[in-house]
């Protein structure tokens, strides 16, 4: 199994597309389908045999680069590619060939972040993802979307700089860029430089991962972006970034101080996101704030994952749940209504999924997260999660009430695609796949 194909194929196709402009979207669709197939195969390999490594350029890991696909990255790689395929179908063939190229690059970049085992390589993929996302956000080419893209770009570049400084600080001390090599030797680092690098990495990645207060770009970018792009952002780059936080914090820095910090940030992000969404009238902005809240929830799960197996399971479920429900809601937000059976279905199923009703994946996410919280004796976190859950219920009830039954103008393919996206949350909530993947130890992880 060669996980590198997940990156090589979209890059190759993105390079080739300018030669076949007319067929660009079709070629891109083919590449995404191929990638989806590979990612599903990769998932099944990881499911049956455990972590898959791929050495790049034939040099043993810390000398060269390697890809480390553990259970969480296999799941996310599959989610990103599969959802990207469905989402691309929903966006339709009307898009320009350059849009398809950027889309492919964003998908390849997000996949790369998820499967790489090298911290600098991760940074490179961050750059690809980020640059492609800036352009995609602006792809509606009106004033709003340009504004969103520029804010995203300013904060994104600031974040990139911090990531780079953080990596440089680590390299200055350990002379290594391999995440697992770094993790095994982190204790030999000078304390101050170590903390500075954690802070830098957390800040830098946090910008992409939409955690508070680094997420200023989120409402504007999501509002400016078209539904399909916002959907891509919600299951692609943002999930990859939050995964990067999980990988870096759980593998390299599973330390008590980091735990408290990440937990606090998660709780604050959750509350701010959900509260800000409550009074928001614009659908996309509301969904964006709600995404921030969900990211906070995942961040809490990551923090707790340092000591709790249940929380690791929660990360899995929450990511899938949020990816599926939010992606379909963003697609739906392009038109101000749910008129036909498919869109009604999408709206209802996504809302049920996102507020964590059984048997959707979100239910298990919340269940395991709160189990972890009670095992850690953190009643205050539980109460705050409940509080935010009620706020969330309030604005989603309002959302459903307002948009149900209005006229809409989606093509048939778009409607069915978003219905399929929404159903993913149900499928993953019923099948034992995620549970069994979640029980496998994450590669090289400290903590648990």
């Amino acid at each position: 199994m060669h996980p590198v194909l997940l990156i090589a194929i979209p890059l190759l196709v993105a390079f080739i597309i300018p030669l076949f402009k007319k067929y660009g979207p079709s070629i891109a669709l083919g590449a995404l389908a191929l990638n989806t197939g590979i990612s599903i195969a990769l998932f099944s390999v990881v499911y049956s045999t455990g972590t898959v490594h791929e050495i790049i350029a034939g040099f043993a890991p810390p000398i060269g680069i390697f890809l480390a696909v553990d259970s969480l990255s296999a799941l996310l790689a599959m989610i990103i590619n599969l959802f990207a395929l469905i989402n691309f179908m929903a966006i339709g063939k009307a898009s320009e060939y350059k849009f398809s190229m950027l889309y492919l690059l964003a998908v390849a970049g997000s996949t790369g972040i998820v499967i790489t085992g090298d911290i600098f390589n991760m940074f490179v993929f961050f750059e690809i993802t980020a640059v492609a996302s800036y352009a995609l956000v602006a792809s509606r080419k009106d004033k709003k979307s340009m504004e969103g893209a520029i804010k995203y770009m300013i904060l994104g570049s600031l974040g990139s700089i911090f990531i780079l400084i953080g990596i440089a600080l680590i390299y200055s001390q350990l002379k290594s860029l391999n995440i697992y090599d770094i993790a095994s030797r982190i204790s030999t680092m000078d304390a101050k430089i170590k903390w500075a690098s954690v802070a830098m990495l957390l800040t830098g990645i946090g910008v992409e991962a939409e955690i508070f207060p680094l997420n200023g770009w989120v409402p504007d970018a999501y509002q400016g972006a078209s539904g399909g792009v916002a959907s891509l952002l919600s299951f692609g780059p943002s999930k990859a970034a939050i995964y990067a936080i999980a990988r870096i914090m759980l593998v390299i820095f599973p330390l008590q101080k980091v735990y408290y910090l990440v937990l606090t940030i998660g709780v604050i992000t959750l509350l701010i996101g959900e509260l800000a969404a409550l009074k928001q009238e614009n659908v996309k902005r509301m969904l964006a704030y709600s995404s921030i809240g969900q990211m906070g929830l995942i961040t809490i799960a990551i923090a707790m994952g340092m000591n709790e197996k249940n929380a690791i399971l929660a990360i899995f479920f929450l990511m899938v749940s949020h990816a599926s429900s939010k992606a379909s809601l963003f697609l739906l937000s392009d038109s101000s209504g749910m008129g036909s059976a498919a869109t009604k279905y999408t709206g209802i199923v996504s809302v049920l999924g996102i507020v964590g009703m059984p048997p959707f994946a979100g239910f298990w996410g919340k269940w395991y997260l709160l189990m972890a919280a009670i095992n850690g004796n953190m009643l205050w976190v539980i109460v705050l999660i409940f509080f935010s859950g009620i706020v969330e219920a309030a604005y989603f009830a309002r959302y459903l009430h307002r948009y149900y039954g209005n006229e809409e103008s989606f093509s048939r393919l778009t409607k069915y695609s978003m219905a399929v996206l929404a159903t993913m949350s149900l499928i993953f909530g019923l099948l034992p796949l995620i549970y069994e993947m979640g029980l496998k130890t994450l590669f090289g992880m400290g903590g648990v």
Partner: protein, 241 residues
């Protein structure tokens, strides 16, 4: 008020960064055992550090005399593919977003000296650029600087001739070069065992034809960077009129 806060925070940030960098150790003993790396797959600990490894074995492992090139193209070739892609993404993004922008005013003609002079200089600039990236594995330089030099040649032409546009040819170069990079990588996967692995005999270090796939990749990067930068400039010029 907001500006003041910004200035104060930037100042604090600057000072704290200075303190941090001041804190960094000035020199390193690369052979000290605290830098010994550990293979994450099998957990074995080596008795060398990574920089030490590069210095010692580059020539044997890659056949490149220029260690920096070997690291950029071989050891961390995957990153380089990524960087090239970032550039490509940026170029695509720029052309994508600028495609609808309104054309501005006309520019006046350049003078005779610039026109004729640039014609004369262009071949030499291109030759220098090509030299830099073809000899990347032997001398300082490589695909990125070489490509930039090539692009600067076209920039000169654009300055001299307002009507000088490169339409489809440039995107053809872009695509072909990028594709070549990935295809070389995939050939490594097919012919050898891993992506971007060398599958050509390394030859004698120091010769022009040596170091396996490094020169091939660097040529591809050279074309890629050259066409990419030219395309960006071209696009901007197109918009400005």
């Amino acid at each position: 008020m907001r500006k003041l806060a910004g200035i104060v925070i930037a100042g604090i940030f600057f000072i704290s960064m200075m303190m941090l960098f001041y804190h960094l150790p000035a020199s390193h003993d690369l052979s000290s055992n605290e830098y010994y790396y550990r293979n994450p797959i099998n957990g074995s600990v080596a008795n060398e550090s990574i920089p030490e490894h590069y210095i010692k074995y580059t020539k044997n492992e890659t056949g490149a005399v220029n260690a920096v090139t070997a690291i950029v193209v071989e050891y961390r070739g995957f990153d380089t593919l990524g960087e090239v892609t970032v550039l490509f993404t940026a170029a695509t993004g720029v052309s994508f977003l600028l495609s609808l922008a309104v054309r501005g005013r006309k520019r006046e003609e350049a003078n005779l000296i610039l026109k004729e002079g640039s014609k004369l200089v262009l071949p030499f600039i291109l030759l220098t650029g090509a030299y830099i990236f073809i000899h990347g594995h032997l001398t300082p330089g490589g695909g990125f600087p070489g490509g930039s030099v090539v692009a600067s040649g076209f920039l000169l032409m654009m300055l001299a001739y307002p009507k000088f546009f490169m339409k489809d040819r440039i995107s053809w170069f872009e695509s072909a070069a990028g594709t070549a990079f990935v295809v070389i990588g995939l050939l490594g996967l097919v012919l050898a065992t891993s992506f971007l692995q060398n599958f050509i005999p390394v030859g004698t270090p120091g010769q022009l034809v040596s170091a396996g796939i490094i020169p091939l990749i660097y040529i591809a990067i050279g074309f890629k960077v050259g066409s990419e930068l030219s395309a960006i400039v071209n696009k901007m010029k197109e918009v400005q009129g």
